[in-house]
Amino acid sequence: MKKNNTLLQRLVIAPYSFWALLFIVVPLFFVAYYAFTDSGFHFTTENITRFFTARSSITGDDGTVREVYTYLLIFWRSLKLALISTVICLLLGYPIAYILSRASDRTQKILITLIMIPMWMNFLIRTYAWMTILQDTGILNGLLKSVGLRPLHIIGTETAVVIGMVYDYFPYMILPIYSVMAKMDIKLLEAARDLGCNSFGVLRRVIFPLSLPGVISGITMVLIPSISTFYISQKLGNGKFYLIGDAIEGQYVANNLHFAAAIAFILMIVLLVCMAFMQRYANSKAVA
């Protein structure tokens, strides 16, 4: 392949370049532009500083009132729930991806389809489905009652929000790990066994290190959407756990476009830094 693009090649990719420019670059530019301007479109850093300095008081369950940094708290909460969801996705998804990659071709196809099917549904509908399952009078508690167990209060807790996130983003963890594992040369696993590894040794010394690129992209694909998610927390958390995505939405709906843009901008910078670190880690592993 020649490095210099011919005219034809450029013509062929022109629509995609145009599409990327119009729907990725231009919106990003507007986000940054709004973040650093006030309602009169004069330059200001006030939106950014507001994110770090805005305070409000919250009333705890025991009636005590605390003064907090509003958006830092929201950001921390989003990060915490997103990390928990990502870790759960990884712990559940890794063994499933491994089992999947070792199954027969036919089983693999069927299971992958089963994993994909929920993704065909709108995520609002999936979230509503979880509401009906987790409600105090919902399907889960109905089941528990029918076998004589005590009902659980889940809806409106952080647990409910995490369940929703895990369910929504689970396939994004399995698929990249599975695709790396499925491509892994079976001879490498035989070589490891031949050289003295038992099953656990093969997993620890060969399969895991070789699957790291899949793990990294799985983490990225779950962490990023779950950190910026909204709506799940409103519906499954009964609005008690305001997340950064909800904050952006709230400001936008309230017509505070400039502040909404500032929150989005800060979130974007944080995520970019995280991704850069993970990428560097993955690369260093790949070279070593």
Binding site: A191, A192, D194, L195, V206, K285
Partner: protein, 374 residues
């Protein structure tokens, strides 16, 4: 010599298709033994059964007299060099070789010493920190050998280890492997479909076809005294003719009675007669045992390869004398150039060069290599 591995009456089928059909084989300490055969003959499966990657459906595998059929690969004192090396891409040269030692928790200094020793053995000193993916095919091969030898196994299994190398490098590696085997005293079980490789490296050659062992012997035995038409054809070039044993040391083929050195057959027993292309002398027509017309001549550097038509049977003859196409020549065959074999299921399948073509031979060989790598 001590028997190190004994295969007893081993059978194996995949999806109902028999791959190994009751084979028995003894492998001795300190020997270089080669399993030789075309693709699909069961040689790789035999190797995988010894390594522990496959379980035989029937029969026993003994290691120093002990049954190891149920022992998993990591507990067998046997290591494998894989066809495409199977080096760990996430580890450098040093760590690839140190892999089995780390699994056994060998102390650090000892690992350093052993890996250095191995690197020296395969002439890769100074490559410790290199990524295995940056190495050439030959270098990767050496790393794979070092990795398999570092734990001092009793037996090293090599699955077509040279198939992916180019001809020159392959020749060098053949010598080197033989040298390593001598230096370490480890038993090598080598699998190949390349008969030249088998003859030049081995102490013992095991010729296999269709899941059965056709012949076991030294390279010279296998070449000079093939047991059936398959072996005669697979090892080197052979003219294989239908003959009749008139009495001991007298055989008739191509309408002529020849003196030969073999005996012990029944009176007028039908036999297969093998004459190697290099053992036929070209003489003036009137002085030959047989007379024929040259139908093609190919120059191969050291010698010419000519095809001669005698009574509609095409003979291959290798000669340093030049003859021309359509020339009428005589063939003279010494008694000790004639080898007599019992009839077998392979009789009549090989040894006539009517449809012979060098090019075709090589094409089908290349395909066989591709198939096996899948």
């Amino acid at each position: 010599m001590r028997k190190i591995i004994e295969l007893k009456n081993i059978s194996k089928a995949f999806d109902g298709e028999t791959v190994l059909d009751h084979i028995s084989l003894d492998i001795y300490d300190n020997e270089f033994i080669t399993l030789l055969g075309p693709s699909g003959c069961g040689k790789t499966t035999t190797l995988r059964i010894i390594a522990g990657f496959e379980q035989p459906d029937e029969g026993d595998v003994l290691f120093l007299g002990e049954d190891i059929a149920s022992l998993p690969p990591h507990k067998r004192n046997v290591n494998t060099v894989f066809q495409r090396y199977a080096l760990f891409p996430h580890l450098n040269v040093f760590e690839n070789i140190a892999f089995p030692l780390r699994e056994k928790h060998v102390p650090h200094e000892e690992i350093n010493g052993k890996v250095e020793e191995m690197l020296k053995l395969v002439a890769l000193t100074g490559f410790e920190k290199r990524s295995v993916t940056s190495l050439s095919g030959g270098q990767q091969q050496r790393v794979a050998i070092a990795r398999a030898l570092v734990g001092h196994p009793k037996v090293l299994l090599l699955d077509e280890p040279l198939a992916a190398l180019d001809l020159k490098l392959r020749k060098d590696m053949q010598q080197e492997l033989k040298g390593i085997q001598k230096a370490t005293g480890i038993t090598f079980v080598f699998v190949t479909h390349d008969q030249e490789e088998a003859l030049s490296m081995s102490d013992t050659v095991v010729v296999m076809s269709e899941g059965k062992i056709q012949q076991i012997g030294t390279p010279i035995d296998i070449y000079n005294e093939p047991q059936n038409a398959f072996v005669a054809d697979f090892i080197g070039e052979s003219n294989i003719l239908n003959g009749v044993m008139i009495e001991d040391q007298k055989v008739r083929f191509s309408g002529h009675v020849f003196d030969c050195v073999d005996g012990g057959f029944g009176k007028n027993e039908a036999v297969d007669v093998v004459v190697r292309p290099e053992d036929v002398d070209i003489v003036p027509e009137e002085k030959g045992h047989l007379r024929g017309v040259v139908s093609s001549v190919t120059f191969l550097g050291v010698h010419y390869e000519i095809i001669v038509d005698i009574n509609n049977f095409k003979w291959m003859i290798q000669t340093t004398d030049f003859v021309d196409v359509d020339e009428h020549i005589g063939l003279y065959i010494e008694p000790d150039a004639i080898h007599i074999m019992k009839k077998s299921k392979y009789s009549g399948m090989f040894g006539d060069y009517s449809s012979f073509s060098n090019e075709f031979d090589e094409l089908s060989d290349a395909e066989a290599v591709e198939d096996e790598s899948l």
